[in-house]
Amino acid sequence: MSPLKGFFNSSVARKFWMAITGLFLITFLLVHLGVNLVMFAGKDAFNQATHFMATNPLIQVMQYVLAAGFLVHIIMGIKLTMQNKAARSVGYAYENAAANSSWSSRNMIISGGLVLVFLILHMRNFFYEMKFTENIGTYTLDGVVLHNDFLLVSSLFTTWYYVVIYVLAFIALGIHLNHGFQSAFQSAGWKNSNWKGLMQTVGTVFSAIIAIGFSAIAIYFFLNPAQ
């Protein structure tokens, strides 16, 4: 066997890379939520935070690592799912899956797929607008030219159906993470019965923080439109 082949191309290895990219995306979510929460500190504070994210050299490099992480996680997830479907070419007439496993653990491709649809919409609405257009105005604060990203975000949250889509997407993400968090540790081999309970609890709390945190921001600015 060629060197390291098994570390990249085997069932166990694909699960490992799924886990590593998943954990990386989890840390990204925390950073993202942190920046979003700055919205509660007002327009200038948020625009300074997005200015930092758009100019800091480390963040610029990490953008590409992040994009790679997303791609590996998504492509690998689809490939694994296709292999898993092929592994049972004839299905059961009657299956009582609820007797032995949770819905969220069995339907990662559905919760993940919903998140992917939202991700595409999200990239169009925010990432594209912030990075590639001049649609948002700028203003100068303490000698620094800031994009008014606060206006872009808060004005999108005034549309009721956008807020509904946004909240539903984060519920899907919460369900995805509730299984994914502890599952990543299992796939990487960093888990046993002693840690199992704690990891599931931390995963559930983390999923709730992500789902509620992002949703709360959208709902707050829907109910209290910024000027």
């Binding site: 085997s10 166990v12 290895a13 699960k15 092929a86 059961y92 007439a93 009657y94 032995n100 081999g189």
Partner: protein, 254 residues
Amino acid sequence: MSSNKDMDLLLKIWRQADANSKGELVDYNVTGISPDSSFLEMLDVLNEQLVEKGQEPVVFDHDCREGICGMCSLFINGEAHGPGDQITTCQLHMRSFNDGDTIYIEPFRATAMPVIKDLVVDRSSMDKIQQAGGYVSVNTSGNTQDANALPIPKADADAAFDAATCIGCGACIATCKNASAMLFLSAKVSQFALLPQGKVEAADRVKNMVRVMDEEGFGNCTNTGACEVECPKGISLDNIARMNREYLSASLAD
């Protein structure tokens, strides 16, 4: 649960003439089933009734009928080995059902375990995984050394023994939504890797067994935990985590 009264049941059983035929679920009414009979005895009664009527009996796997050989299979009412925890099909009794129930009886399903006839599947792909490394090359003839000369921590001995209770029935594969063989394989890896005699070949063992598992077309583990719940011997998911650790460190050393 039911009373002591004999039961009448509607069975929906998968019938398939051979590996190449297209199978289907066929309805059978069985009558006068004692709640104290085992599930396999109930099938014996059905088969006697079928033979009396001049019909072909239902083919199913069984051997020891005391829960240790791993031969009986069957996916009963949507679960491997039917309802009930930590039992094989031969340990399932009809008192778990009620008079008038409809019971689905299907073969274990996996592309790597094709149906041979009716409810019998070919599990030789599991044998191939076992043959790829599920052994130790220790010379046991001649001057065998004293067992106590090799100190083994009690916890390791217990975990190895727990893994070794796997009877290779394939319920984990049948119940996994991905038809993954990782609980089976991880039990075989763990029972050796935890002991000094098995450590010597641990890296090659796990790499070879995983390679054959992938070649045979089993699915990937998505950590639903269904296998652990349905396993008649209660093999723990800890073994899969240990196998992942063993495999990843072994393949990094290539």
